[in-house]
Each structure stands twice: as structure tokens, then as C-alpha cells.
Amino acid sequence: MPDLTCSLLGLTLHNPIVLASGILGTSAALLERVAQAGAGAVTAKSCGPAPRTGHPNPITIEWGHGLINAVGLTNPGAPVEAPLLAEARALLQPLGVPLIASIFGGTPREYGEVARTIATARPALIEVNISCPNVADEFGTPFAADAVAAAEVTAAVVANAGGIPVSVKLAPNVPDIVRIARAVGAASASALTAINTMPGMVIDPYAGRPVLSNRSGGLSGPAIKPIALRCVAQLAAEQDLPVIGTGGVLTGIDAAEMLMAGATAVGVGTAVWYRGPEALGQIVAELDEFMAAEGYTSLAELRGLALR
């Protein structure tokens, strides 16, 4: 039997499969449901300084090789989110499944304020969403495109996180992802989550217009897996922070590939659309099966294998 136990920043996860932010992480009960389905850790939906209803429908569509979404950072605001996260943490604790919070803001100062509020719920990790592609009108160019801005946001969050480790979620659409990673590392990030969705647009030719009400959105699913693998491989090869490798993982085999690219843990999101809320447990079982069949006994044997 392979050992799927995963160490991440001193946390011990039952397995490396982590629910990605923005998927089913809107309530304590849904986070618990995904944990019960077999996730190693779960990430809540991103929360900002104030409530947001998000974009009007359509917010997502399957377009043949993945999803495109522009939900628009729907969230109740940090003061409401914090008790929800505390409730989630209490539900997850007996399951041994760590809770990851996710935050966003419009300025480094706002990021810091949200971090301070959310830290009161004592999540195991705070993920900093500097790369949501769907709110450009309100929040300007995502911080993920600029090493200096990304570092400023990271420093503001770390300073307000009350000692909780911080992971920064990086965008794939930058000239040099390692440069951004080193900058946030120098600003005391403890981990990286890579990648966020890839900006894109889906046009319905019969309607003669983009399908999403926001016009453009973030691509996820099978189409972006090779992009994610390349980013994760670069990050693993060229800097030292652990990476939660995320993007296009629908199966246990995909998860193995992500580990082979050098990921420490593996984020899963869009699989829930294709396979339902039970997807994470199925992926864990498939990873276990793959490792047993291929003679791997621990994650360490897979990790970074493709880089050697």
C-alpha cells in the first residue's frame, strides 16, 4: 500500500489532494462535505474586504476542453467570512483535514486588513489570491503580473497573519513566473499555489458575442493542465518554496503528473464540475491505485521525478 501522507509546511495531510479555492468553499458544511469525500485539505472561496454579489449569469460554461468562469469573487466580506471559517475549522478538526483560507483585496492595505480579520479564525494557511482574472474593472491589473506589487501584497498579508503561514496564488500569464515567486518568497511567503485560471474568452458564434456576462473569464480544466505542469516544474526547479500544484487535475493520474512536476500538494477544482462533489476522494483512490501499480511507495518518490 502506497503511503499518501503529505507534509506541507509542517501540516500532515492524509493525502496531497487539496480542494482549490472557488469550488464549493462557500460554507462550512460544503467544506466539511468535500473533506468527508476524501480531500487532504480544503480551501475556502476567496474573501475580500466587503460583500460582493459577483457577476450576473452566465458565470460559467463548459466549452469542450474545460470550463471558463467569471463568478466575480462572490463573497460575504471578511467580517462575515471569519466566523464561517471558524465554524468550518471546528467541523474539519475531527476529520484531520486542514482549512486553507483564501483572501483578496484591492490594495496591499486591504489585503492586510482582510488577513487580520481572517486570521482570527485560525486557518492552517492563508492563500493570497493576487491573480483573479475576472475583476479587472474594479481591481485593475492583478498584482500577480508585477513582482514589486506581488511582494508588497505578500508583505502586508504576512505582517497581519498572526504567524499563520501564507501561500501566494500565482497567475500563469506572466513572462517569468519564477521572478514573481522569488519576489513573494523574499516577502516571507511560505508557499505558492500555482496556477490560477488562465484568462480567456469563449464566443458563441450563433449569438455573435461572448458567452459570459463578464465577456472574458478564467480557463480551467483539461485545457490548462500542460500550462500548469510547466509552471509548477519551473517553480520546483528554480526556487525553494513548496508548491500546491493546481490546474487541470481531473484524475489521480493527472495528480501523479503534478507531483512529478515537483508539486508538494495538488489542487483540484474543475474536477468537481465533471465528476461531482465526490471527485476528490475518487482522485485520491486513483492516485493510490496508480502508485501501487507502478511500484511507488511514497509521494517523495514521485515528487519532482520529471525534473531529474
Binding site: 472561496k45 460554461i61 458567452v211 468537481v272
Partner: protein
């Protein structure tokens, strides 16, 4: 991906309600829903009111539904689905319970039940006679109808649940399938539990992604998603 239909027929059900009959089938079960997109207007969920050809019953309540109801024969609409869990027919005697616009999926369900040789009765309730929908369709199919209106303008005066209480005792159905406002569904659930009758209820919720990702439709109990776990509960 969307499937594009053109409207083959538009039937006026009452002042703000239309049945839209499309130009092709949709392989769906009664109780399942679709997301309908009107480019430039928006996207909303509708329960499937017919499968071959696909039909929807649309009540004009907001900008999207008003725009859909303004469509004419030949106009197109964009459909994703079918989505969610529908009704699962069992037994020989089926009681349908509809409150107001909740009748939308029940004519489709009645058709399937009758095709299976089930005996079908319906308790239909609405505010007034003008709000009773699809009743002539149900009667034409051979469904025995019991009507209740809050103002007494058709059938008996009062709530449909009062009718149901009596019919449960007198007719003893094997299964109750209901669709309507939440207080009605909760009352139906209680009555069926008291009488030991199986019931399946269709719950309404805000739908955004419609496929179990965004969490917008969590309702009824913590962690339950109307779009993938429902909208119909079987129990």
C-alpha cells in the same frame, strides 16, 4: 456547451405565463432543469416541462423571464442541461401536488406516469382561478383533478394541502410528487410522513453555475446543493 433551439410554438397559459415549445427533443427526466441563456439578457434555470419536443413554462417575473416570454415562434434560445436529479416513479398510484407555477414539471411527469400504466391524480392549488395552470392539459391526459384556490374562484376555497390531507386518506397513493412554494412542500412532507406515503419534492433555489461548483444553491440543510443533489428530493 449550449444547445440552440428555435421556438416552434408559444402557448399563452395566463397573463404572465407562457409555454414555449422548442423545435427538438431533450433527453430529460421530469424534475430535471435546464439553464436557458438569452444572449445579451441573461441566464436562468427552468424545470423541463416536456422532452419531445423540449418545452418550458416561463413566468414573467424579471428582466430575463420577460425577455424570454417576448420571444416569438422561430426565435432562438440557448439551453444547457438537463441538470440535476428528477423524480423517480414507483408504485401504481401517483398523486401530484402543485402550488401555483410549481405545476410546470408535473404535466410532463403525469405523461410519463400514465405511459407506465400508473393511475394519476393531481391536487392543484393557486391564488385564484386565473393562476391555475395546465389544468385542462392534465385533465385531457386523463389525470383526475382536485382544485383549490385561496379566493375560492375555482375548486374549493383554501390551501391545496387541505385537499391533499383528505385525498391521502381516501385514495391512498403509493407516491406523492410535489412542486411549489417551500411552505407547501414542507407541509406536504409532513402530511406524507404522517400517512407513511413516499414523497418526492422539487425545491427551488438560486442557480448560478448549475453544476455543483459555485455553491449558490445550498439550501434545505447544510451542504445540500439543489443543482446536483436535487432539485428533487426522494424520501
Amino acid at each position: 456547451m449550449h444547445r440552440i433551439y428555435a421556438l416552434r410554438e408559444v402557448r399563452e397559459e395566463n397573463a404572465r405565463t407562457r409555454t414555449l415549445v422548442c423545435d427538438g427533443p431533450l433527453e430529460a427526466r421530469p424534475g430535471q432543469f435546464v439553464m436557458v441563456w438569452l444572449p445579451g439578457v441573461g441566464e436562468k434555470p427552468f424545470s423541463v416541462a416536456g422532452d419531445d419536443p423540449m418545452a418550458l413554462m416561463v413566468v414573467g417575473v424579471g428582466p430575463v423571464t420577460h425577455a424570454i416570454n417576448a420571444l416569438k415562434v422561430g426565435d432562438r434560445l440557448w439551453v444547457r442541461g438537463p441538470l440535476g436529479q428528477g423524480y423517480e416513479l414507483e408504485g401504481e398510484r401517483l398523486m401530484l401536488v402543485a402550488g401555483g407555477y410549481g405545476v410546470a414539471p408535473l404535466r410532463f411527469l403525469a405523461e410519463q406516469a400514465l405511459r407506465r400504466g400508473m393511475c394519476v391524480e393531481a391536487c392543484v392549488g393557486a391564488r385564484s382561478a386565473a393562476d391555475l395552470l395546465l389544468c385542462s392539459d392534465l385533465a385531457a391526459l386523463g389525470v383526475r383533478l382536485c382544485l383549490a384556490t385561496e379566493d375560492g374562484s375555482a375548486g374549493e376555497r383554501g390551501l391545496v394541502t387541505a385537499l391533499l390531507t383528505r385525498r391521502l386518506a381516501a385514495w391512498k397513493p403509493d407516491l406523492v410528487c410535489a412542486c411549489g412554494p417551500v411552505p407547501m412542500l414542507e407541509a406536504v412532507e409532513r402530511l406524507c410522513a404522517q400517512q407513511g406515503v413516499a414523497c418526492q419534492l422539487s425545491w427551488e433555489a438560486e442557480m448560478r453555475c448549475g453544476q455543483g461548483v459555485c455553491g449558490s444553491c445550498e439550501c434545505r440543510r447544510p451542504g445540500w446543493l439543489a443543482c446536483v443533489d436535487g432539485p428533487v428530493t426522494v424520501g
